[in-house]
């Protein structure tokens, strides 16, 4: 059976964010786009499952403006994924519309054993699409998963909860698992992999064809702002003892945080 992996294209973590003049969004000129780092763990895990004979093929999906998003799908194909689908849509959809669209694309493909995702995307840090997608597909989910093992009827997941505590949960398959760092070490695309990926056909679905009504979106982001400038740093002089004394005094009397 199949494993689906949902991936998102995000600005590289090194990116310096600039805003559009009217503050309606970020200025995307010159941004280097990468696969969301947590999604790399999801792709790697799917490839390992296929190599272990626990699934027949790996199908990657991504939603966003086709022209740039296909690049990230090619990266996943070059890592070893079998098939790819792009849902060509606007970049500012909220989690509800995004998860509906992904669910529709997955349902159209038929049966599957697992859906893998990253635990969150590092752009909006919302961590919502995975859980919403699981609900739309009527399957159980586990998020923030750093260890998993798959058997015929279930998947055993170790996930992080508050304060570094971990829990082990068992999900009946089909299920959705959202990957955390530590799940595996994602492979780099090999040169033959890259050559092969170039020849693969990426399926296309127009977001507009999915019949998702505008009411499926609940919010949009407006009035973007850069963080306020911090007042410049106060450097503390003297020897180590004096520095320590000054710092404690400033934290208590000036900043009033101790």
């Amino acid at each position: 059976m199949k494993v689906f992996v949902c991936i998102k294209q995000v600005p590289d973590t090194e990116t310096k964010i600039k805003l559009k003049a009217d503050q309606s969004g970020i200025d995307t000129t010159g941004i280097k786009w990468i696969m969301n780092p947590y999604d790399e763990y999801a792709v790697e895990e799917a490839l390992k499952l296929r190599e272990a004979g626990q699934c027949a093929s790996v199908h990657v999906l991504s939603l966003g403006p086709k022209a740039r998003v296909v690049e990230t799908l090619r990266t996943a194909l070059a890592m070893g994924a079998d098939e790819a689908t792009v849902i060509d849509g606007p970049e500012d959809l909220d989690a509800s519309a995004t998860s509906k669209a992904l669910a529709a694309a997955i349902k159209a493909e038929g049966e599957f054993k697992l859906v893998l995702t990253g635990k969150l995307a590092i752009d909006d840090n919302n961590s919502a699409v995975s859980q919403m997608l699981a609900e739309h597909l009527h399957i159980p989910h586990a998020s923030v998963v750093s260890k998993m093992s798959v058997s015929a009827a279930s998947v055993l997941c170790e996930r992080e909860v508050e304060g570094g505590t971990r829990e082990v949960i068992e999900l009946a398959v089909p299920a959705l698992v959202a990957a955390n760092k530590g799940l595996n070490l994602p492979r780099y695309a090999s040169l033959p992999g890259i050559m092969k990926a170039k020849k693969k056909v990426i399926k296309e679905i127009a977001f507009a064809s999915l019949d998702i009504s505008p009411q499926e979106s609940h919010y949009k982001f407006v009035a973007f702002q850069l963080p306020p400038d911090k007042p410049s740093v106060k450097m503390l002089a003297g020897d180590a003892k004096q520095q320590a004394e000054q710092l404690v005094s400033l934290l208590r009397n000036e900043a009033k945080v101790i």
């Binding site: 970020i26 609900e135 702002q225 450097m235």
Partner: protein, 322 residues
């Protein structure tokens, strides 16, 4: 649609600080305040919730809610929220909330936005701001649908004001729906410390490559014990295997916003700075005067962490014991 519902969290017999923050914000609206409280001890919270302006509490002290299970919680909460259809549902953006509320939102066709840092009410409308790209910028969240909107707030962002409203909140029992579960919690592996999660901590002591060795994190642990702080780390030391990923602060770790962040031996890669720049006061201790961390810091010390940390710990002990 004239109510606001709070997901109330508590420890032993007290409402959590993050819940009091949400209640303080909710009292500024003209909406009737309701709350959901579940788990053993939940019914002991009625008086405190009433005092804080809550009129009605949906409550269960059943053992079923003693441990989080996404299916059990989302099914039970969906019943309550569908019946009440509050205009807003507020919860703090904990790891559990971030797992639960999106699933619940999809079930009841609600909107959900997590990790918000600004929230204010006027009348029956809410103004919300959320950091994006790990705080490299932020945006206002504008609701465009008429359903319930679920807002998950980062802790330590809102003031707490005391409230002495008369009368306990009225109580409605939540019943956990009986379903064949596809999700089973098999085992809990407790963390060795009982510290707050990084995302909830009001003080964080964080270490980077300048700590030289995993062993030296004991200096940070000692300082954290004195301050009641949680220990964090940079990506470099997590990748080196000195500490687990649950301690990583930054764009591929946790985004934190404590009142005080003490960065020890962290040079300040852009991803790390993004993850901690929401901190109110930032202290940087580093031997390299040109380290980028100093550009974000409130107070900077150029020096040897191994020399400074024990002295600092002794100084803090002096004033905190008085």
């Amino acid at each position: 649609m004239s109510t606001i519902m709070i997901f109330a969290e508590f420890t032993n017999t007290q409402l959590k600080k993050s819940t009091l923050e949400l209640l303080t914000a909710a009292r500024k609206s003209n909406l009737k305040i309701q709350a959901i409280a579940v788990g053993p001890g939940a019914k002991n919270m009625l008086a405190a919730l009433g005092q804080n302006g809550v009129e009605q509490v949906f409550v269960s002290d059943s053992e079923v809610f003693a441990r989080y299970n996404s299916e059990v919680f989302s099914n039970a909460f969906a019943e309550v929220i569908k019946a009440q259809s509050p205009k807003f549902l507020l919860a703090s953006s904990t790891m559990m909330a971030r797992d639960l509320f999106p699933r619940l939102a999809a079930k009841i066709k609600a909107g959900v936005v997590s990790d918000c840092t600004e929230l204010s009410f006027s009348g029956d409308s809410a103004k919300i701001r959320k950091p994006l790209y790990s705080g490299k910028c932020s945006a206002e969240v504008q609701f465009v649908s008429s359903g319930t909107q679920i807002i998950l707030m980062r802790s330590n962002q809102l003031p707490i004001e005391a409230s002495q409203k008369a009368g306990a909140a009225s109580m409605s029992e939540i019943v956990a729906p009986k379903t064949d579960l596809k999700t089973l919690v098999k085992e809990i592996v407790k963390a060795t410390s009982n510290k707050l999660d990084l995302t909830e901590a009001s003080i964080i002591v964080s270490g980077g490559r300048g700590m030289k060795d995993a062993e030296n994190f004991k200096l940070l642990n000692e300082l954290a014990d004195t301050l009641g702080a949680t220990v964090g780390a940079s990506r470099a030391v997590v990748d080196a295997g000195w500490v687990p990923h649950s301690m990583q602060v930054g764009q591929t770790g946790k985004t934190v916003a404590p009142v005080l962040y003490i960065a020890c031996g962290i040079s300040g890669a852009i991803q790390h700075l993004a993850g901690m720049s929401g901190s109110k006061v930032i202290v940087a201790i580093n031997k390299d005067a040109n380290a980028p961390i100093f550009q974000k810091a409130t107070y900077g010390i150029v020096g040897d962490v191994f020399e400074i940390l024990p002295l600092l710990n002794a100084e803090f002990k002096k004033i905190l014991q008085h």
